[in-house]
C-alpha cells in the first residue's frame, strides 16, 4: 500500500469514527455522565428509580446510582453534604417541604428553565396543588413531583357490612368501628385481629398522623386559615381542647391496634392491612394500589377509601373553646361535618444539587423528567410497591392503567374519588413549610408524641410541651420571620 493510499484510508476511517461518535452523542446525550441520587431506604420510593435507571441509561447513556439512608437521616445527610461542599450526590428525592431550607443558601438548582423547555414533562398535567405548592418556592420550580400525598382512611368493606356500619365520617365513627371490629377474626385464620392499625414508631413517618386527626377541629375557615399557628400571634395551636381531644383519640386508636403499634412503621401497618389483619387504617394513597397486588394482598376487592374523617365541632380560636358546626363556624362542612384533609409531606419530589457539574444537572433533571412523564408515571402510581400515588390530572381521568393494575372499576373510582375529594377540598390543610419545618415536625412532634404514647405525658402535658418547644424554636429562629414565612405559604393557590 502506497503512503498516499494509507493516509487516505486513515482519513476515511477517522471520518467514519467521528461521524459515528456524532450520531452516538446525539442519541446518547449523557454518555459517560454518572449521577448519584439520594433518597430514603424504601424499598418503596427508591424502587422505581432503581428499576427504571437501566432504561434511562439505554436512552441517554447516563448512569444513575440510587443511594438510600433511613428516613430520619435523609434531611441531615443532604444538608451536611451540601453545606460542607462535599456534593456527593447530584440529586435528591426528598420531602418538598424541606425546599425552604435548601433554596435560601442556594443548594438547589432552579428548575424553571428546564421545565419551561421540556414539553415531554407535560407540566400542566401535574395537578395545581403539586405544581404550585409542592414543586414551587418563591415563584420558581425547585423539584419535580413523582408522588402525590394525602392522608386517607381505608376500611374493609366486608367487615363494615358484617358489622352493619357505614364508612367513618367523623373520628368518633372511626373509634366506634375500630372498637366493634377489634378482636374479631378478619382474615379467617382463627386468630383475633385488630380494629385499627396506625404506625406509631418513633423516628419513622408517624408524626404526621396527629395533624390529620386534629385538623378537622383546628381548621374550618378554608386552607388559608392554617392548622399549625395562629396567624396573628404565631402561637402554636396545641394548648386548646381540640388538640387535646385529638391526642386522646390518637391514643385511643392504640387500644384497638396491634400490641407493638408503638414500634412498627408504616410498612408494617400496610402489610398488616393488606393481609387482612386490620379493619381500618390511616395512610397515604399507597394502600389502594397495594391492596390489588396479587402477590401480597389477601383483601383485593374488599377495601374502600374515604377522605380523612372530620368533626361536628371545631375550635373557636377567639375563645379557645370547641363550638358546634354551623354555617358560620364551618362554612365548608358537608352534612354538618367539617373535613380538613391533610396534604402531609407533599409527595416525594426530585431536586437537583446546584453544586453539580452542568452535565450532571442536565442528566439529573432529565432523569426526573423521564420518571415524571405520563408514560412512566401513570404506570408507577398504580403499582403498590413504588410508594408513588397519583398527582397528575390524567391519572385521575384515565381509569385504564388502574384497571390494568387489577383494580375493579368501582374500586378505582372509590380510591381516586377519595384522593380527589382531598385534593379539591377548599379546606385542605397544607403541610408546614416554614424554615426548619423538619425540626418542628420530625424532631419535636415525633419525640413528644412518642413520649405521650408511652404515658410519659398526659394529653394536656403533651400539648403544653409541644407548645413550649415550638415557641422556643420559633424564638431561636426569629418569630417575626417565621410568621411571615408561614403566612406566605398559606396564600399559595392550590386550585388553579
Amino acid at each position: 500500500m502506497s503512503k498516499t493510499k494509507f493516509v487516505l484510508l486513515i482519513t476515511v476511517l477517522l471520518m467514519v469514527v467521528s461521524g459515528l461518535s456524532l450520531v452516538s452523542a446525539q442519541d446518547m446525550p449523557y454518555e459517560g455522565v454518572v449521577i448519584d441520587i439520594l433518597t430514603f431506604t424504601g424499598p418503596q420510593v427508591a424502587e422505581p428509580l432503581i428499576r427504571r435507571a437501566p432504561d434511562f441509561a439505554e436512552l441517554t447513556g447516563a448512569t444513575v446510582n440510587v443511594v438510600t439512608v433511613p428516613n430520619a437521616d435523609l434531611y441531615q445527610t443532604i444538608l451536611t453534604d451540601v453545606a460542607t461542599g462535599t456534593n456527593s450526590y447530584e440529586a435528591y428525592l426528598f420531602a418538598p417541604q424541606w425546599t425552604v431550607d435548601f433554596v435560601g443558601p442556594g443548594y438547589l438548582e432552579d428548575l424553571t428553565p428546564y421545565v419551561e423547555a421540556d414539553a415531554d414533562l407535560m407540566w400542566d398535567d401535574v395537578a395545581p396543588f403539586f405544581r404550585n405548592f409542592s414543586a414551587t418556592y418563591n415563584g420558581s420550580v425547585y423539584s419535580i413531583p413523582l408522588d402525590g400525598d394525602f392522608h386517607m382512611v381505608y376500611y374493609r368493606t366486608d367487615v363494615l357490612e358484617t358489622l352493619g356500619m357505614e364508612p367513618p365520617k367523623t373520628w368518633d365513627d372511626y373509634l366506634a368501628i375500630a372498637a366493634a371490629a377489634n378482636g374479631t377474626d378478619l382474615n379467617d385464620d382463627g386468630q383475633p385481629d385488630y380494629g385499627s392499625c396506625i404506625s406509631k414508631a418513633r423516628a419513622q413517618q408517624s408524626y404526621w398522623w396527629i395533624t390529620s386527626i386534629a385538623a378537622g377541629m383546628l381548621q374550618a375557615q378554608g386552607t388559608s386559615e392554617g392548622a399549625f399557628f395562629d396567624t396573628t400571634t404565631f402561637e402554636p395551636l396545641f394548648n386548646n381542647p381540640a388538640y387535646i381531644r385529638a391526642l386522646e383519640i390518637y391514643r385511643e386508636t392504640s387500644d384497638y391496634g396491634p400490641p407493638d403499634e408503638q414500634t412498627i412503621g408504616v410498612g408494617d401497618t400496610r402489610s398488616l392491612f393488606v393481609t387482612g389483619r386490620c379493619a381500618l387504617t390511616l395512610d397515604w394513597g399507597d394502600i389502594g394500589s397495594l391492596a390489588v397486588d396479587p402477590e401480597n394482598s389477601t383483601v383485593n376487592g374488599l377495601v374502600g377509601a374515604v377522605v380523612t374523617p372530620g368533626y361536628t365541632e371545631v375550635l373557636d380560636r377567639a375563645t379557645n373553646e370547641l363550638v358546634a358546626c354551623d354555617e358560620a363556624t364551618c362554612p365548608y362542612a358537608i352534612d354538618g361535618v367539617n373535613y380538613a384533609p391533610f396534604s402531609s409531606f407533599g409527595g416525594w419530589s426530585g431536586a437537583v444539587n446546584a453544586g453539580s457539574s452542568p452535565e450532571q444537572k442536565q442528566a439529573a433533571y432529565a432523569f426526573f423528567s423521564y420518571m415524571a412523564q405520563p408514560a412512566q408515571a401513570n404506570e408507577d402510581v398504580t403499582i403498590g410497591r413504588t410508594g408513588y400515588n397519583p398527582y397528575r390530572t390524567s391519572q385521575f381521568e384515565d381509569l385504564q392503567p388502574w384497571l390494568d393494575a387489577g383494580f375493579s372499576e368501582d374500586a378505582a373510582n372509590n380510591y381516586l374519588g377519595a384522593i380527589e375529594a382531598s385534593l379539591n377540598s377548599p379546606n385542605m390543610v397544607l403541610d408546614l413549610r416554614i424554615p426548619q419545618n423538619q425540626r418542628y415536625e420530625q424532631v419535636i412532634i415525633d419525640t413528644v408524641l412518642s413520649q405521650f404514647l408511652a404515658e410519659e405525658f398526659t394529653a394536656e402535658e403533651a400539648a403544653a410541651e409541644l407548645a413550649a418547644q415550638w415557641n422556643a424554636l420559633s424564638d431561636e429562629l426569629g418569630r417575626d420571620a417565621q410568621l411571615e414565612a408561614y403566612i406566605a405559604t398559606l396564600g399559595i393557590s392550590t386550585t388553579e
Binding site: A72, D73, Q76, L79, T80, V82, A83, T84, G85, P105, G106, Y107, Q191, P192, A201, R202, A203, P258, P259, D260, E261, Q262, T263, Q438, R439, Q442, V443, T447, S450, Q451, F452, L453, A454, E455, E456, E465, A468, Q469, A472, E476
Partner: protein, 382 residues
C-alpha cells in the same frame, strides 16, 4: 557537694562544642520517634476533645460553604439541666414511697460512714477529704435522682436510664460471667466446646444482636410467637411498656457482654494458686470458704479492672437501644449516647456536645472513685 555539681554544670555548658550528627540524633531521636504518635493523639483525640468542648458552648447552623457559630456560654447545659430539655435529660421527680425513702437514707448513711472512716484514718489528707466529700455528694445526687424519678409519678430521664443500663447490666454480666467461668474451670466433659460457645455472642456485631433481639421479643411474629400464643400472651408486646423495653435492652446487652467478663475471669481463675487451694482442701475447707477466702481475693484486682472497663464501655450503649426500640417507647430506653446522637442527627450540635461532656464528666468521676477509693478498699479487705 551541691556547689560542686553546680560548678561542673556551668563548666560543661561553657565548654560545649558543636555536636556531631550522631550526637544530635542521640539527643533528638526520642522526640523524632515519639512525634508521630504525639501528632496522632493530638489530631485524633485532643483536638476533637477541645473542639467539642467549644461546640458545647455554641449553636451551630450549617450554611452554604460552612457554618454560622453563635456563642451561647452555658446555654446548652442550662437547656439540659434546667431548660426545655430538663425533663428529657434528668426526668420528672415523683413521690418516693417509704421503702424508697429508707433506701435513700441507707445509701446516704453508708456514704457518710465511709467519709467518717476516712476522716478517722491515720493517713487522711485535706485534699483526700475534699475529693471524697465531692464524690459522695455527686454519688448521693445521682442516687437520689434515680430514686425520685423511679418513684410513683416520676419519670426517669436519659441520665437515669443510662445509669440503670450500666449498673444493672454490669452487675448481671459479672455474676453470670463469673458463674460460667467457675463452671468451665471444673473438670467437666465438653468444657472446651462450652468455652467457644460462651464466647460467641461477643463475636457478633452489636447491630446484629439488636436485630436478633428485636425478632425474639416480637410476640406476634418472632420465633417465640407459638409460645406466646400458647400462653395467650400474643397481644402483649413487652417493648411497648417502659419497663419491658428496658428489660429487653438490658437482656440483650447482658447476653452480648457476659462473654467478655467470662473470658477475663476465666483467665484470672486459671491463674490462681493451686497450692493454696490444695492446702485449703487438706485443711477441710468447703467450696464456699475456698471461694471466699482463697479464690476471690486472688481474682479481686482483675474483677475490679474488668468491671471498670465494662462500666466505661456500658455508658456508651447506643446500638442495642437504637435497633431494638429506637430509644422508645417515648424516651424510656434512650441512653445518653443515643440522646447525643439524636441531637447531632437533628443539627443540634451544641446540645449533642454538651451531653457528651456531661457523660465524660460522669464516667471520669465513676472511674476515679473505682480506682482511688473502691479498688484499694476491696483488695485490702479481701
Amino acid at each position: 557537694m551541691q556547689a560542686e555539681r553546680s560548678n561542673m554544670t556551668l563548666v560543661d555548658v561553657s565548654n560545649r562544642k558543636p555536636r556531631s550528627l550522631s550526637q544530635l540524633w542521640e539527643s533528638s531521636s526520642k522526640l523524632v520517634l515519639l512525634l508521630p504518635a504525639i501528632l496522632v493523639v493530638l489530631v485524633l483525640s485532643i483536638f476533637p476533645l477541645i473542639v467539642s468542648l467549644f461546640l458545647s458552648f455554641t449553636r451551630i447552623q450549617l450554611v452554604r460553604g460552612g457554618f454560622n457559630v453563635t456563642f451561647l456560654g452555658l446555654g446548652n447545659y442550662q437547656k439540659l439541666l434546667a431548660g426545655t430539655e430538663q425533663r428529657h435529660f434528668l426526668g420528672k421527680l415523683g413521690e418516693p414511697s417509704l421503702a424508697q425513702w429508707a433506701l435513700l437514707a441507707a445509701f446516704l448513711a453508708v456514704m457518710l460512714w465511709m467519709l467518717t472512716q476516712y476522716a478517722r484514718s491515720p493517713g487522711w489528707r485535706i485534699f483526700g477529704l475534699v475529693m471524697r466529700t465531692l464524690a459522695i455528694a455527686l454519688a448521693v445526687g445521682l442516687f437520689a435522682l434515680t430514686v425520685f424519678t423511679l418513684a410513683e409519678g416520676g419519670l426517669p430521664g436519659t441520665l437515669v436510664v443510662t445509669l440503670i443500663f450500666v449498673f444493672t447490666g454490669v452487675f448481671f454480666q459479672y455474676l453470670i460471667g463469673l458463674g460460667l467461668a467457675l463452671l468451665v474451670t471444673q473438670n467437666l466433659r465438653g468444657k472446651r466446646f462450652f468455652r467457644v460457645v460462651f464466647l460467641m455472642p461477643m463475636m457478633i456485631t452489636p447491630v446484629g444482636i439488636g436485630f436478633l433481639f428485636r425478632m425474639m421479643v416480637d410476640t406476634g411474629k418472632g420465633p417465640f410467637a407459638p409460645v406466646w400464643n400458647f400462653l395467650g400472651l400474643q397481644s402483649i408486646s413487652w417493648v411497648d411498656t417502659p419497663s419491658g423495653a428496658r428489660a429487653a435492652v438490658m437482656i440483650g446487652d447482658i447476653w452480648q457482654w457476659t462473654p467478655f467478663m467470662f473470658i477475663i475471669l476465666l483467665a484470672a481463675l486459671e491463674g490462681t494458686s493451686r497450692e493454696q487451694i490444695e492446702a485449703a482442701l487438706v485443711d477441710g475447707a468447703n467450696r464456699w470458704k475456698m471461694f471466699r477466702y482463697i479464690i476471690l481475693p486472688q481474682i479481686a484486682p482483675v474483677s475490679i479492672t474488668v468491671i471498670l472497663i465494662r462500666i466505661i464501655e456500658g455508658f456508651k450503649i447506643i446500638d442495642m437501644a437504637q435497633i431494638l426500640t429506637g430509644g422508645g417507647p417515648g424516651t424510656a430506653t434512650e441512653s445518653m449516647t443515643l440522646y447525643a446522637y439524636n441531637a447531632w442527627r437533628t443539627q443540634d450540635f451544641g446540645v449533642s456536645s454538651a451531653i457528651g461532656y456531661i457523660l465524660l464528666f460522669i464516667v471520669t468521676f465513676i472511674a476515679m472513685v473505682i480506682v482511688n477509693i473502691i479498688r484499694p478498699r476491696v483488695v485490702e479487705r479481701l
